[in-house]
Amino acid sequence: MTDATGTTDPGTATERRSPLDEVHRAAGASFTDFAGWQMPVRYSSDLAEHRAVREHAGLFDLSHMGEILVVGPEASDALDYALAGKLSAIAEGQAKYSLLLARDGGVVDDLVVYRTGEDRYMVVANASNREVVAEELRNRTSPFDCEVFDESDDVALIALQGPDALEVLQQTEGFGVQGPGNDDEDFDAALEGLKYYRALAAEFDGEPVLVARTGYTGEDGFELYLSPDRAARLWEALRETGGPRVVPCGLASRDTLRLEAGMPLYGHELSRDILPVQAGLGRVVALSKEGDFVGRAAIEQGPADGAPVLVGLTAEGRRAPRAGYEVYDGDGDDARRVGEITSGALSPTLGHPVAMAFVAPDAAEPGSQLFVDVRGTRIAASVTPLPFYKRGA
């Protein structure tokens, strides 16, 4: 059941549960409230889960994410107008990271958009922004010949991330490429050839599954979109096939993984109060595309002089700067406050604290020495190019 009519409003329910909820409870997961969903924060150890993704593979339940379809002869034109990127330029089977901008250029949400057909797109939104994205897409695309369907309740999402992800997925039984006469070998070959930010229409257990080579961890990996009633079966199949190589991972490790990979998190590095260029996402906005799009005028004008910009920070020791901590240009009483931390953690892979912060442009030069107020103590931190971690070739 879709809520294309806008009559249902599941976002107001306080404790939404994933189709994999029972599986997580049986596995002893700890839960956290995330955008109104009860989702696993960890199964046993954040650090072990983080390491599993860097060294072998981790399995994430991301069923809280929003999946919104835009379908119709003018779907590409509609999305070119509604979003910051040029979605008409991507081929069928391709994905693109994009932004939904407000008229004033602020970021309403960051998205991954999959072109699943000539006149068909799937827009994947953050759970917290699902309703606003669906609403904005409906409004913005209404002059075009296309329709918007919020399919979030009918789509489960499982991510398999890490250097062993490809092999595990190939070894998992029950997959085939979509269409008549498919078999397991076709699927294995198609997976092998699937490039980053490409997706493959496949089958699992006779039901459609979109297999995308995308992720939010800085590792190779896949995101698997499928019907909620097949989610538990796929989860168990991946665990059985992978054995000790596949570790179920909660949102805590997902956050430290994406932070090391320098990827923004909506509500931390991205918000309605910043223009994409301030967060280093200027290239995501396709100013070269023809015609108007929502936010264009504001983006062309650019941010105000002195508007803060996003930087990476690294520090020594073990005390991590955290979201909201203030950043200064010195450790004395006369130091100037230059910005604020948006995310931070002791990097499990690197062994020292890493953080992202919005700071004044004159403090943003790589190598600049800044200081973070960590609960009353000024800790030295250097401006460091993002990402902090990049996987080996």
Binding site: S30, V41, R42, S45, D46, L47, H50, A252, D255, T256, R318, R319, A320, R322, A345, L346, P348, R375
Partner: protein
Amino acid sequence: MTDRTDLQYTEEHEWVKVDGETVTIGITDYAAEKLGDVVYVDLPAAGTAITSGTVVGEIESTKSVGELFAPVDGEVVESNQAVVDSPELVNSDPFGEGWLLKVTAASLPKLLSHDEYRALTGE
């Protein structure tokens, strides 16, 4: 293995073990699990005077920061260097090797019994 029913507890999820005038302090398994993987522990040095109810240390995990409240008035005689070097001991053995402070205390405030603490955490 420490018998947890012999310990006393605080509402801030510390445990207290009384042995004459020496009081050993740690955080409970409940607190350790809520924090997640502990990656940094900051403890007061030996000789530091502590006052019940005040923040005397920090226990930081990958996700959050927990404050260590002094459960008693007293003076620190030893802080657990093993935990400072290997903060994961707080997770792996919170009632044993993961102890945090030894304190001399002249008197003890009213603390929670094991059953009262269990009722507090709903376990």
